[in-house]
Protein backbone atom coordinates (compact mmCIF):
# COMPACT_ATOMS: atom_id res chain seq x y z
CA UNK A 1 0.00 0.00 0.00
CA UNK A 2 2.50 2.58 1.17
CA UNK A 3 5.20 0.99 -0.86
CA UNK A 4 3.06 0.72 -3.94
CA UNK A 5 2.54 4.46 -3.76
CA UNK A 6 6.22 5.13 -3.41
CA UNK A 7 7.38 2.67 -6.02
CA UNK A 8 7.42 3.30 -9.72
CA UNK A 9 5.16 1.20 -11.88
CA UNK A 10 6.05 -2.08 -13.49
CA UNK A 11 8.01 -1.13 -16.58
CA UNK A 12 8.10 -4.46 -18.44
CA UNK A 13 11.86 -4.38 -18.19
CA UNK A 14 12.46 -7.26 -15.80
CA UNK A 15 16.07 -6.49 -15.00
CA UNK A 16 15.40 -2.87 -14.14
CA UNK A 17 12.26 -3.79 -12.23
CA UNK A 18 13.97 -6.40 -10.13
CA UNK A 19 16.91 -4.13 -9.41
CA UNK A 20 14.57 -1.36 -8.39
CA UNK A 21 12.58 -3.69 -6.15
CA UNK A 22 15.65 -5.22 -4.55
CA UNK A 23 17.07 -1.80 -3.78
CA UNK A 24 14.94 -2.00 -0.64
CA UNK A 25 16.51 -4.21 2.05
CA UNK A 26 13.08 -5.30 3.26
CA UNK A 27 12.25 -6.63 -0.21
CA UNK A 28 15.45 -8.67 -0.25
CA UNK A 29 14.54 -10.01 3.17
CA UNK A 30 11.03 -10.75 1.94
CA UNK A 31 12.42 -12.80 -0.95
CA UNK A 32 14.78 -14.68 1.36
CA UNK A 33 12.04 -15.36 3.89
CA UNK A 34 9.68 -16.31 1.09
CA UNK A 35 12.15 -18.86 -0.21
CA UNK A 36 12.57 -20.50 3.20
CA UNK A 37 8.84 -20.51 3.79
CA UNK A 38 8.16 -21.99 0.38
CA UNK A 39 10.59 -24.86 0.88
CA UNK A 40 9.20 -25.61 4.33
CA UNK A 41 5.58 -25.40 3.27
CA UNK A 42 6.22 -27.43 0.14
CA UNK A 43 7.78 -30.36 2.00
CA UNK A 44 5.52 -30.37 5.07
CA UNK A 45 2.46 -29.73 2.95
CA UNK A 46 3.22 -32.77 0.81
CA UNK A 47 3.12 -35.00 3.88
CA UNK A 48 0.06 -33.18 5.20
CA UNK A 49 -1.90 -33.81 2.03
CA UNK A 50 -0.71 -37.41 1.94
CA UNK A 51 -1.84 -37.93 5.53
CA UNK A 52 -5.17 -36.21 4.93
CA UNK A 53 -4.48 -33.86 7.79
CA UNK A 54 -5.60 -30.71 6.04
CA UNK A 55 -7.94 -29.88 8.87
CA UNK A 56 -5.26 -30.19 11.54
CA UNK A 57 -2.94 -28.14 9.34
CA UNK A 58 -5.55 -25.47 8.92
CA UNK A 59 -6.21 -25.34 12.65
CA UNK A 60 -2.51 -25.05 13.45
CA UNK A 61 -2.16 -22.24 10.98
CA UNK A 62 -5.08 -20.21 12.34
CA UNK A 63 -3.67 -20.64 15.82
CA UNK A 64 -0.81 -18.40 14.79
CA UNK A 65 -3.19 -15.47 15.08
CA UNK A 66 -3.90 -15.68 18.84
CA UNK A 67 -0.21 -16.41 19.28
CA UNK A 68 0.81 -13.16 17.69
CA UNK A 69 -1.99 -11.20 19.36
CA UNK A 70 -1.12 -12.63 22.77
CA UNK A 71 2.55 -11.86 22.33
CA UNK A 72 1.69 -8.30 21.39
CA UNK A 73 -0.52 -7.98 24.45
CA UNK A 74 2.29 -9.20 26.69
CA UNK A 75 4.78 -7.00 24.92
CA UNK A 76 7.12 -9.78 23.79
CA UNK A 77 8.18 -10.53 20.22
CA UNK A 78 5.45 -11.99 18.02
CA UNK A 79 7.79 -14.82 17.05
CA UNK A 80 7.56 -16.32 20.54
CA UNK A 81 3.77 -16.16 20.41
CA UNK A 82 3.65 -17.86 17.02
CA UNK A 83 5.80 -20.76 18.12
CA UNK A 84 4.30 -21.20 21.59
CA UNK A 85 0.75 -21.38 20.28
CA UNK A 86 1.38 -23.40 17.15
CA UNK A 87 3.51 -26.05 18.82
CA UNK A 88 1.25 -26.09 21.88
CA UNK A 89 -1.84 -26.61 19.75
CA UNK A 90 -0.03 -29.35 17.84
CA UNK A 91 0.62 -31.19 21.09
CA UNK A 92 -3.01 -30.79 22.18
CA UNK A 93 -4.34 -32.09 18.88
CA UNK A 94 -1.89 -34.98 18.99
CA UNK A 95 -2.83 -35.88 22.57
CA UNK A 96 -6.58 -35.50 22.81
CA UNK A 97 -8.33 -37.51 20.11
CA UNK A 98 -6.72 -40.84 20.92
CA UNK A 99 -7.82 -40.48 24.53
CA UNK A 100 -11.22 -41.50 23.21
CA UNK A 101 -9.60 -44.73 22.12
CA UNK A 102 -10.70 -44.71 18.53
CA UNK A 103 -7.88 -44.76 16.09
CA UNK A 104 -8.87 -43.31 12.78
CA UNK A 105 -6.84 -43.97 9.71
CA UNK A 106 -7.56 -40.58 8.22
CA UNK A 107 -6.33 -37.53 10.04
CA UNK A 108 -9.43 -35.46 9.43
CA UNK A 109 -11.85 -38.25 8.78
CA UNK A 110 -12.98 -39.11 12.29
CA UNK A 111 -15.98 -37.11 13.37
CA UNK A 112 -14.92 -36.72 16.97
CA UNK A 113 -11.33 -35.86 16.22
CA UNK A 114 -12.58 -33.22 13.82
CA UNK A 115 -14.98 -31.87 16.41
CA UNK A 116 -12.13 -31.51 18.91
CA UNK A 117 -9.90 -29.90 16.33
CA UNK A 118 -12.64 -27.50 15.26
CA UNK A 119 -13.41 -26.53 18.82
CA UNK A 120 -9.75 -25.86 19.57
CA UNK A 121 -9.53 -23.73 16.47
CA UNK A 122 -12.60 -21.64 17.24
CA UNK A 123 -11.60 -21.23 20.87
CA UNK A 124 -8.09 -20.07 20.07
CA UNK A 125 -9.27 -17.68 17.37
CA UNK A 126 -11.70 -16.31 19.92
CA UNK A 127 -8.84 -15.96 22.37
CA UNK A 128 -6.96 -13.99 19.75
CA UNK A 129 -9.93 -11.68 19.42
CA UNK A 130 -10.02 -11.30 23.21
CA UNK A 131 -6.34 -10.34 23.28
CA UNK A 132 -7.01 -7.71 20.64
CA UNK A 133 -10.00 -6.39 22.57
CA UNK A 134 -7.86 -6.14 25.70
CA UNK A 135 -5.03 -4.49 23.83
CA UNK A 136 -6.63 -1.23 22.78
CA UNK A 137 -5.68 0.41 19.54
CA UNK A 138 -4.25 -2.71 17.98
CA UNK A 139 -7.01 -2.92 15.42
CA UNK A 140 -5.02 -1.74 12.44
CA UNK A 141 -2.58 -4.61 12.77
CA UNK A 142 -5.24 -7.30 12.76
CA UNK A 143 -5.57 -7.47 9.01
CA UNK A 144 -1.82 -7.84 8.62
CA UNK A 145 -1.75 -10.64 11.19
CA UNK A 146 -4.57 -12.46 9.44
CA UNK A 147 -3.73 -11.84 5.82
CA UNK A 148 -0.01 -11.31 5.82
CA UNK A 149 2.37 -8.54 5.07
CA UNK A 150 5.78 -8.63 3.49
CA UNK A 151 6.72 -5.27 4.89
CA UNK A 152 9.23 -4.93 7.65
CA UNK A 153 10.71 -8.41 7.67
CA UNK A 154 14.01 -7.93 9.46
CA UNK A 155 17.26 -9.75 8.92
CA UNK A 156 16.94 -11.25 12.40
CA UNK A 157 13.56 -12.68 11.45
CA UNK A 158 15.05 -14.24 8.35
CA UNK A 159 17.78 -15.79 10.48
CA UNK A 160 15.27 -17.22 12.96
CA UNK A 161 13.23 -18.50 10.05
CA UNK A 162 16.29 -20.15 8.51
CA UNK A 163 17.17 -21.83 11.81
CA UNK A 164 13.64 -23.16 12.25
CA UNK A 165 13.51 -24.27 8.65
CA UNK A 166 16.80 -26.15 8.98
CA UNK A 167 15.63 -27.85 12.17
CA UNK A 168 12.31 -28.87 10.64
CA UNK A 169 13.91 -30.22 7.50
CA UNK A 170 16.46 -32.11 9.58
CA UNK A 171 13.71 -33.78 11.61
CA UNK A 172 11.87 -34.63 8.43
CA UNK A 173 15.01 -36.05 6.86
CA UNK A 174 15.36 -38.38 9.84
CA UNK A 175 11.73 -39.52 10.05
CA UNK A 176 10.84 -39.06 6.39
CA UNK A 177 10.87 -42.70 5.29
CA UNK A 178 9.07 -44.26 8.27
CA UNK A 179 6.63 -41.35 8.21
CA UNK A 180 5.85 -42.08 4.58
CA UNK A 181 5.26 -45.72 5.43
CA UNK A 182 3.10 -44.83 8.44
CA UNK A 183 1.12 -42.34 6.38
CA UNK A 184 0.37 -44.66 3.51
CA UNK A 185 -0.58 -47.69 5.55
CA UNK A 186 -0.70 -47.13 9.31
CA UNK A 187 -1.89 -50.65 10.12
CA UNK A 188 0.89 -52.45 8.25
CA UNK A 189 3.48 -49.96 9.52
CA UNK A 190 2.39 -50.54 13.11
CA UNK A 191 2.56 -54.30 12.58
CA UNK A 192 6.11 -53.92 11.29
CA UNK A 193 7.10 -52.10 14.47
CA UNK A 194 7.06 -48.53 13.17
CA UNK A 195 6.07 -46.20 16.07
CA UNK A 196 3.02 -44.79 14.26
CA UNK A 197 1.69 -42.72 17.15
CA UNK A 198 5.03 -41.16 17.99
CA UNK A 199 5.56 -40.31 14.33
CA UNK A 200 2.14 -38.73 14.19
CA UNK A 201 2.95 -36.51 17.17
CA UNK A 202 6.35 -35.57 15.76
CA UNK A 203 4.73 -34.71 12.46
CA UNK A 204 2.13 -32.47 14.10
CA UNK A 205 4.79 -30.62 16.08
CA UNK A 206 6.88 -30.13 12.96
CA UNK A 207 3.76 -28.94 11.15
CA UNK A 208 3.12 -26.51 13.99
CA UNK A 209 6.65 -25.11 13.79
CA UNK A 210 6.39 -24.76 10.03
CA UNK A 211 3.04 -22.95 10.20
CA UNK A 212 4.40 -20.65 12.89
CA UNK A 213 7.28 -19.72 10.63
CA UNK A 214 5.13 -19.38 7.55
CA UNK A 215 2.34 -17.33 9.05
CA UNK A 216 4.70 -14.42 9.58
CA UNK A 217 4.69 -13.92 5.84
CA UNK A 218 1.30 -15.04 4.60
CA UNK A 219 -0.76 -14.24 7.68
CA UNK A 220 -2.53 -16.73 9.89
CA UNK A 221 -5.52 -17.32 7.64
CA UNK A 222 -3.54 -17.96 4.49
CA UNK A 223 -0.62 -20.15 5.60
CA UNK A 224 -2.83 -23.01 4.82
CA UNK A 225 -2.92 -22.02 1.15
CA UNK A 226 0.82 -22.44 0.86
CA UNK A 227 0.70 -25.74 2.73
CA UNK A 228 -2.10 -27.42 0.85
CA UNK A 229 -2.17 -26.13 -2.70
CA UNK A 230 1.38 -26.71 -4.00
CA UNK A 231 1.28 -30.15 -2.41
CA UNK A 232 -2.10 -31.00 -3.87
CA UNK A 233 -0.90 -29.76 -7.25
CA UNK A 234 2.21 -31.93 -7.03
CA UNK A 235 0.18 -34.98 -6.06
CA UNK A 236 -2.06 -34.42 -9.04
CA UNK A 237 0.97 -34.42 -11.30
CA UNK A 238 2.95 -37.33 -9.89
CA UNK A 239 2.42 -40.06 -7.34
CA UNK A 240 6.14 -40.64 -6.74
CA UNK A 241 7.31 -39.28 -3.37
CA UNK A 242 10.68 -37.72 -4.22
CA UNK A 243 9.46 -36.20 -7.45
CA UNK A 244 6.28 -35.05 -5.74
CA UNK A 245 8.11 -33.28 -2.91
CA UNK A 246 10.44 -31.61 -5.38
CA UNK A 247 7.50 -30.46 -7.48
CA UNK A 248 5.68 -29.23 -4.40
CA UNK A 249 8.69 -27.16 -3.31
CA UNK A 250 9.20 -25.82 -6.82
CA UNK A 251 5.59 -24.73 -7.14
CA UNK A 252 5.56 -23.16 -3.69
CA UNK A 253 8.73 -21.24 -4.50
CA UNK A 254 7.44 -20.01 -7.84
CA UNK A 255 4.13 -18.96 -6.28
CA UNK A 256 5.78 -17.11 -3.39
CA UNK A 257 8.28 -15.19 -5.46
CA UNK A 258 5.77 -14.29 -8.15
CA UNK A 259 3.35 -13.15 -5.47
CA UNK A 260 5.97 -11.01 -3.77
CA UNK A 261 6.77 -9.31 -7.05
CA UNK A 262 3.14 -8.72 -7.95
CA UNK A 263 2.22 -7.61 -4.43
CA UNK A 264 5.05 -5.09 -4.55
CA UNK A 265 3.59 -3.49 -7.65
CA UNK A 266 -0.07 -3.69 -6.63
CA UNK A 267 -2.16 -2.34 -3.77
CA UNK A 268 -3.54 -5.72 -2.76
CA UNK A 269 -2.23 -7.88 0.08
CA UNK A 270 0.35 -10.59 -0.52
CA UNK A 271 -2.02 -13.24 0.83
CA UNK A 272 -4.45 -12.64 -1.96
CA UNK A 273 -1.79 -13.13 -4.61
CA UNK A 274 -0.32 -16.21 -2.98
CA UNK A 275 -3.68 -17.94 -2.82
CA UNK A 276 -4.64 -16.88 -6.32
CA UNK A 277 -1.46 -18.07 -8.00
CA UNK A 278 -1.44 -21.29 -6.01
CA UNK A 279 -5.04 -21.97 -6.90
CA UNK A 280 -4.34 -21.31 -10.57
CA UNK A 281 -1.57 -23.92 -10.43
CA UNK A 282 -3.90 -26.35 -8.69
CA UNK A 283 -6.64 -25.85 -11.26
CA UNK A 284 -4.12 -26.31 -14.08
CA UNK A 285 -2.90 -29.54 -12.50
CA UNK A 286 -6.45 -30.88 -12.59
CA UNK A 287 -6.60 -30.08 -16.26
CA UNK A 288 -3.33 -31.95 -16.85
CA UNK A 289 -4.54 -34.91 -14.84
CA UNK A 290 -7.85 -35.18 -16.63
CA UNK A 291 -6.12 -34.92 -20.00
CA UNK A 292 -3.70 -37.67 -19.03
CA UNK A 293 -6.50 -39.87 -17.86
CA UNK A 294 -8.41 -39.40 -21.06
CA UNK A 295 -5.38 -40.56 -22.99
CA UNK A 296 -4.08 -44.04 -22.53
CA UNK A 297 -5.27 -45.05 -19.08
CA UNK A 298 -7.65 -47.85 -18.26
CA UNK A 299 -11.16 -46.41 -18.47
CA UNK A 300 -12.23 -47.90 -15.15
CA UNK A 301 -9.48 -46.19 -13.21
CA UNK A 302 -9.97 -42.94 -15.01
CA UNK A 303 -13.62 -42.94 -14.07
CA UNK A 304 -12.79 -43.53 -10.42
CA UNK A 305 -10.19 -40.78 -10.36
CA UNK A 306 -12.47 -38.33 -12.14
CA UNK A 307 -15.08 -38.96 -9.48
CA UNK A 308 -12.77 -37.41 -6.93
CA UNK A 309 -10.53 -40.13 -5.54
CA UNK A 310 -7.09 -38.67 -4.89
CA UNK A 311 -4.27 -39.89 -7.08
CA UNK A 312 -2.44 -41.78 -4.39
CA UNK A 313 -5.35 -44.02 -3.50
CA UNK A 314 -5.90 -45.18 -7.05
CA UNK A 315 -2.29 -45.53 -8.16
CA UNK A 316 0.70 -47.21 -6.57
CA UNK A 317 2.68 -44.80 -4.49
CA UNK A 318 6.10 -46.37 -4.26
Amino acid sequence: MLIADAATDWSWNPVADLRQMWAFPFMVNAFRAGAIVAVLAGVIGWYMVLRRQSFAGHTLSTVAFPGAAGATLLGVGAVYGYFTFCVGAALVIAAIPRAGGHESGHGSGGGEEAAVTGTIQAFLLGAGFLFIALYQGFLGGVDALLFGSFLGITTTQVEVLAAVGAAVLLVLAVVGRPLLFASVDPAVAAARGVPVRLLSTVFLVVLGAATAATSQITGALLVFALLVMPAATAQNLTARPVLGIAASVGIALAVTWTSLTVAYYSPYPIGFWVTTFAFAAYAASWGVRLLRERRGRAPGRGAVAAAGTPAWTSGSLL
Binding site: M1, A122, F123, L222
Partner: protein, 288 residues
Protein backbone atom coordinates in the same frame (compact mmCIF):
# COMPACT_ATOMS: atom_id res chain seq x y z
CA UNK B 1 -39.64 -6.08 21.55
CA UNK B 2 -38.04 -2.88 22.71
CA UNK B 3 -41.15 -1.78 24.60
CA UNK B 4 -41.46 -5.19 26.16
CA UNK B 5 -37.88 -5.07 27.37
CA UNK B 6 -38.19 -1.89 29.37
CA UNK B 7 -40.01 -3.55 32.26
CA UNK B 8 -37.54 -6.41 32.67
CA UNK B 9 -34.87 -6.45 35.29
CA UNK B 10 -31.11 -6.72 34.84
CA UNK B 11 -29.50 -7.59 31.57
CA UNK B 12 -32.80 -8.35 29.86
CA UNK B 13 -33.86 -4.74 30.44
CA UNK B 14 -31.49 -3.69 27.66
CA UNK B 15 -32.99 -4.13 24.21
CA UNK B 16 -29.63 -5.03 22.69
CA UNK B 17 -29.22 -7.87 25.13
CA UNK B 18 -32.75 -9.12 24.60
CA UNK B 19 -32.26 -9.12 20.82
CA UNK B 20 -28.99 -10.96 21.21
CA UNK B 21 -30.53 -13.52 23.56
CA UNK B 22 -33.49 -14.22 21.26
CA UNK B 23 -31.60 -14.36 17.99
CA UNK B 24 -28.72 -16.16 19.70
CA UNK B 25 -30.99 -18.90 21.03
CA UNK B 26 -32.49 -19.59 17.61
CA UNK B 27 -29.10 -19.52 15.91
CA UNK B 28 -27.60 -21.76 18.58
CA UNK B 29 -30.44 -24.28 18.28
CA UNK B 30 -29.97 -24.48 14.51
CA UNK B 31 -26.19 -24.81 14.94
CA UNK B 32 -26.60 -27.53 17.52
CA UNK B 33 -28.90 -29.56 15.26
CA UNK B 34 -26.91 -29.14 12.07
CA UNK B 35 -23.66 -29.54 13.99
CA UNK B 36 -24.78 -32.92 15.30
CA UNK B 37 -25.04 -34.27 11.76
CA UNK B 38 -21.90 -32.46 10.71
CA UNK B 39 -19.93 -34.35 13.36
CA UNK B 40 -21.77 -37.60 12.74
CA UNK B 41 -21.01 -37.41 9.02
CA UNK B 42 -17.39 -36.35 9.69
CA UNK B 43 -17.89 -33.17 7.70
CA UNK B 44 -16.64 -30.67 10.25
CA UNK B 45 -14.00 -29.54 7.78
CA UNK B 46 -16.79 -28.59 5.38
CA UNK B 47 -18.23 -26.39 8.09
CA UNK B 48 -14.80 -24.84 8.51
CA UNK B 49 -14.62 -24.16 4.80
CA UNK B 50 -18.05 -22.57 4.82
CA UNK B 51 -17.05 -20.28 7.64
CA UNK B 52 -14.38 -18.82 5.39
CA UNK B 53 -16.87 -18.50 2.57
CA UNK B 54 -19.07 -16.50 4.91
CA UNK B 55 -16.22 -14.06 5.41
CA UNK B 56 -15.54 -13.58 1.72
CA UNK B 57 -19.23 -13.39 0.84
CA UNK B 58 -19.88 -10.69 3.42
CA UNK B 59 -16.95 -8.59 2.34
CA UNK B 60 -17.76 -9.01 -1.34
CA UNK B 61 -21.26 -7.73 -0.60
CA UNK B 62 -19.85 -4.81 1.41
CA UNK B 63 -17.37 -3.96 -1.34
CA UNK B 64 -20.18 -4.07 -3.90
CA UNK B 65 -22.32 -1.87 -1.69
CA UNK B 66 -25.21 -4.28 -1.14
CA UNK B 67 -26.62 -5.76 2.04
CA UNK B 68 -24.03 -7.86 3.84
CA UNK B 69 -26.45 -10.71 4.44
CA UNK B 70 -27.12 -11.09 0.71
CA UNK B 71 -23.48 -11.93 0.08
CA UNK B 72 -23.37 -14.07 3.19
CA UNK B 73 -26.19 -16.39 2.20
CA UNK B 74 -25.36 -16.44 -1.50
CA UNK B 75 -21.72 -17.34 -0.85
CA UNK B 76 -22.27 -20.03 1.75
CA UNK B 77 -25.10 -21.81 -0.06
CA UNK B 78 -23.43 -21.62 -3.47
CA UNK B 79 -20.18 -22.97 -2.10
CA UNK B 80 -21.91 -25.69 -0.12
CA UNK B 81 -23.52 -26.95 -3.31
CA UNK B 82 -20.22 -26.59 -5.18
CA UNK B 83 -18.42 -28.66 -2.54
CA UNK B 84 -21.11 -31.26 -2.89
CA UNK B 85 -20.57 -31.37 -6.65
CA UNK B 86 -16.80 -31.61 -6.33
CA UNK B 87 -17.03 -34.79 -4.35
CA UNK B 88 -18.54 -38.19 -4.71
CA UNK B 89 -21.93 -38.78 -3.15
CA UNK B 90 -22.14 -35.36 -1.59
CA UNK B 91 -19.19 -35.80 0.77
CA UNK B 92 -16.49 -33.35 -0.15
CA UNK B 93 -12.85 -34.44 -0.29
CA UNK B 94 -10.71 -32.48 2.15
CA UNK B 95 -7.84 -31.53 -0.14
CA UNK B 96 -10.28 -30.14 -2.70
CA UNK B 97 -12.15 -28.30 0.04
CA UNK B 98 -8.91 -26.96 1.47
CA UNK B 99 -7.65 -25.67 -1.85
CA UNK B 100 -10.94 -24.02 -2.72
CA UNK B 101 -11.41 -22.31 0.60
CA UNK B 102 -7.81 -21.21 0.92
CA UNK B 103 -8.26 -19.37 -2.35
CA UNK B 104 -11.63 -17.98 -1.32
CA UNK B 105 -10.08 -16.65 1.89
CA UNK B 106 -7.47 -14.94 -0.24
CA UNK B 107 -10.27 -13.37 -2.26
CA UNK B 108 -11.74 -12.22 1.04
CA UNK B 109 -8.48 -10.42 1.80
CA UNK B 110 -8.75 -8.79 -1.61
CA UNK B 111 -12.30 -7.56 -0.98
CA UNK B 112 -11.30 -6.39 2.48
CA UNK B 113 -8.54 -4.23 1.01
CA UNK B 114 -10.92 -2.98 -1.65
CA UNK B 115 -13.53 -2.06 0.94
CA UNK B 116 -11.31 -0.55 3.59
CA UNK B 117 -9.28 1.55 1.19
CA UNK B 118 -12.37 2.84 -0.60
CA UNK B 119 -14.38 3.95 2.41
CA UNK B 120 -11.98 5.55 4.85
CA UNK B 121 -12.11 5.30 8.62
CA UNK B 122 -15.72 4.10 8.84
CA UNK B 123 -14.90 0.93 6.99
CA UNK B 124 -11.67 0.15 8.79
CA UNK B 125 -13.24 -2.14 11.36
CA UNK B 126 -15.32 -4.07 8.83
CA UNK B 127 -12.94 -7.00 8.58
CA UNK B 128 -12.84 -7.48 12.33
CA UNK B 129 -16.62 -7.18 12.60
CA UNK B 130 -17.22 -9.78 9.94
CA UNK B 131 -14.56 -12.15 11.25
CA UNK B 132 -15.52 -11.98 14.90
CA UNK B 133 -19.17 -10.99 14.86
CA UNK B 134 -21.14 -8.41 16.75
CA UNK B 135 -24.19 -10.06 18.26
CA UNK B 136 -24.83 -7.14 20.61
CA UNK B 137 -25.17 -4.94 17.56
CA UNK B 138 -28.23 -6.70 16.17
CA UNK B 139 -31.28 -4.52 15.64
CA UNK B 140 -34.79 -5.78 16.38
CA UNK B 141 -35.40 -6.39 12.67
CA UNK B 142 -32.13 -8.25 12.15
CA UNK B 143 -32.73 -10.35 15.24
CA UNK B 144 -36.23 -11.22 14.03
CA UNK B 145 -34.99 -12.27 10.59
CA UNK B 146 -32.16 -14.31 12.06
CA UNK B 147 -34.52 -16.07 14.44
CA UNK B 148 -37.02 -16.83 11.68
CA UNK B 149 -34.39 -18.30 9.36
CA UNK B 150 -32.89 -20.32 12.18
CA UNK B 151 -36.33 -21.65 13.11
CA UNK B 152 -36.80 -22.67 9.48
CA UNK B 153 -33.50 -24.58 9.54
CA UNK B 154 -34.55 -26.35 12.73
CA UNK B 155 -37.89 -27.32 11.20
CA UNK B 156 -36.24 -28.79 8.09
CA UNK B 157 -33.70 -30.76 10.15
CA UNK B 158 -36.45 -32.16 12.37
CA UNK B 159 -38.50 -33.11 9.31
CA UNK B 160 -35.71 -35.14 7.69
CA UNK B 161 -34.16 -36.31 10.97
CA UNK B 162 -34.81 -40.03 10.54
CA UNK B 163 -33.84 -40.20 6.88
CA UNK B 164 -30.72 -38.12 7.37
CA UNK B 165 -29.67 -40.20 10.37
CA UNK B 166 -30.10 -43.40 8.38
CA UNK B 167 -28.15 -41.99 5.43
CA UNK B 168 -25.38 -40.71 7.70
CA UNK B 169 -24.90 -43.85 9.77
CA UNK B 170 -25.00 -46.36 6.95
CA UNK B 171 -25.00 -44.78 3.54
CA UNK B 172 -24.84 -47.99 1.54
CA UNK B 173 -27.76 -49.67 3.26
CA UNK B 174 -29.78 -46.47 3.14
CA UNK B 175 -29.18 -46.18 -0.60
CA UNK B 176 -30.19 -49.81 -1.09
CA UNK B 177 -33.42 -49.16 0.78
CA UNK B 178 -34.28 -46.35 -1.63
CA UNK B 179 -33.28 -43.36 0.52
CA UNK B 180 -32.16 -40.52 -1.81
CA UNK B 181 -28.69 -40.41 -0.26
CA UNK B 182 -27.17 -38.04 -2.78
CA UNK B 183 -30.01 -35.58 -2.63
CA UNK B 184 -29.89 -35.65 1.16
CA UNK B 185 -26.15 -34.99 1.04
CA UNK B 186 -26.66 -31.91 -1.14
CA UNK B 187 -29.63 -30.72 0.88
CA UNK B 188 -27.69 -31.12 4.08
CA UNK B 189 -24.73 -29.14 2.76
CA UNK B 190 -27.07 -26.34 1.70
CA UNK B 191 -28.54 -26.38 5.18
CA UNK B 192 -25.06 -26.14 6.66
CA UNK B 193 -24.51 -23.16 4.37
CA UNK B 194 -27.58 -21.38 5.72
CA UNK B 195 -26.59 -22.19 9.29
CA UNK B 196 -23.06 -20.93 8.72
CA UNK B 197 -24.44 -17.66 7.38
CA UNK B 198 -26.71 -17.39 10.41
CA UNK B 199 -24.05 -18.21 12.94
CA UNK B 200 -21.53 -15.84 11.44
CA UNK B 201 -23.89 -12.98 12.28
CA UNK B 202 -23.74 -14.04 15.90
CA UNK B 203 -20.16 -15.09 16.57
CA UNK B 204 -18.42 -14.06 13.36
CA UNK B 205 -17.25 -16.20 10.50
CA UNK B 206 -14.08 -17.36 12.23
CA UNK B 207 -15.72 -18.62 15.39
CA UNK B 208 -18.88 -20.24 14.07
CA UNK B 209 -17.06 -23.55 13.90
CA UNK B 210 -17.05 -23.59 17.69
CA UNK B 211 -20.81 -23.28 17.73
CA UNK B 212 -21.18 -26.06 15.15
CA UNK B 213 -18.63 -28.53 16.48
CA UNK B 214 -18.40 -28.11 20.25
CA UNK B 215 -22.00 -28.83 21.38
CA UNK B 216 -22.30 -31.72 18.95
CA UNK B 217 -18.96 -33.17 19.98
CA UNK B 218 -19.91 -32.84 23.64
CA UNK B 219 -23.25 -34.54 23.10
CA UNK B 220 -21.72 -37.44 21.21
CA UNK B 221 -19.15 -37.87 23.94
CA UNK B 222 -21.83 -38.13 26.61
CA UNK B 223 -24.28 -40.46 24.90
CA UNK B 224 -24.34 -42.98 22.07
CA UNK B 225 -28.09 -42.78 21.56
CA UNK B 226 -28.62 -40.67 18.40
CA UNK B 227 -31.92 -39.04 19.41
CA UNK B 228 -30.61 -38.21 22.86
CA UNK B 229 -27.32 -36.86 21.50
CA UNK B 230 -29.21 -34.75 18.97
CA UNK B 231 -31.43 -33.22 21.65
CA UNK B 232 -28.50 -32.74 24.00
CA UNK B 233 -26.49 -31.00 21.29
CA UNK B 234 -29.33 -28.56 20.67
CA UNK B 235 -29.92 -27.82 24.35
CA UNK B 236 -26.19 -27.43 25.03
CA UNK B 237 -25.77 -25.01 22.14
CA UNK B 238 -28.56 -22.76 23.43
CA UNK B 239 -27.31 -22.93 27.02
CA UNK B 240 -23.75 -22.14 25.92
CA UNK B 241 -24.98 -19.20 23.87
CA UNK B 242 -26.87 -17.75 26.81
CA UNK B 243 -24.03 -18.48 29.20
CA UNK B 244 -21.58 -16.69 26.94
CA UNK B 245 -23.88 -13.70 26.51
CA UNK B 246 -24.35 -13.42 30.27
CA UNK B 247 -20.62 -13.60 30.97
CA UNK B 248 -19.92 -11.04 28.31
CA UNK B 249 -22.57 -8.75 29.80
CA UNK B 250 -21.06 -9.12 33.26
CA UNK B 251 -17.50 -8.56 32.01
CA UNK B 252 -17.83 -5.84 29.39
CA UNK B 253 -14.22 -6.14 28.29
CA UNK B 254 -14.84 -9.65 27.06
CA UNK B 255 -16.21 -9.81 23.50
CA UNK B 256 -19.42 -11.89 23.35
CA UNK B 257 -18.17 -14.14 20.58
CA UNK B 258 -15.16 -15.14 22.65
CA UNK B 259 -17.31 -15.75 25.73
CA UNK B 260 -19.70 -18.00 23.78
CA UNK B 261 -16.96 -20.05 22.20
CA UNK B 262 -15.04 -20.23 25.48
CA UNK B 263 -18.08 -21.58 27.33
CA UNK B 264 -18.65 -24.13 24.56
CA UNK B 265 -15.01 -25.23 24.67
CA UNK B 266 -15.05 -25.44 28.47
CA UNK B 267 -18.15 -27.65 28.43
CA UNK B 268 -16.52 -29.88 25.82
CA UNK B 269 -13.38 -30.16 27.94
CA UNK B 270 -15.53 -31.05 30.95
CA UNK B 271 -17.24 -33.73 28.88
CA UNK B 272 -13.82 -35.22 28.18
CA UNK B 273 -13.11 -35.36 31.89
CA UNK B 274 -16.48 -36.95 32.64
CA UNK B 275 -16.61 -39.13 29.57
CA UNK B 276 -13.23 -40.74 30.16
CA UNK B 277 -15.40 -43.61 31.46
CA UNK B 278 -16.61 -46.39 29.18
CA UNK B 279 -16.39 -45.74 25.52
CA UNK B 280 -17.89 -48.67 23.68
CA UNK B 281 -17.92 -48.28 19.91
CA UNK B 282 -21.47 -47.24 19.08
CA UNK B 283 -23.22 -47.44 15.75
CA UNK B 284 -21.44 -44.40 14.38
CA UNK B 285 -18.00 -45.92 14.80
CA UNK B 286 -18.97 -49.18 13.19
CA UNK B 287 -18.80 -47.67 9.74
CA UNK B 288 -15.31 -46.22 10.15
Amino acid sequence: MTVLASGWPGALGHPFFLHAALAGAAIAAASGMVGYFLVLRAQVFTGDALSHMAFTGSLAALAAGVDLRLGLYAATIAVAVLLGTLSRSGRADDVAIGSVFAWITGLGAFFLTLYTTSGGADNAGAGVRVLFGSIFGLSAGQAGTAAAVAAGVCAVVLAVFRLLLFASVDEAVAAARGVPVRLLGFGFLALVGVTAAEASQAVGSLLLLGLLAAPAGTAQRLTDNPARAFALSTVLAVAEMWGGLTISYAVPKMPPSFAIVAVAAAVYAAAFAVGARRRNPGPRLARA
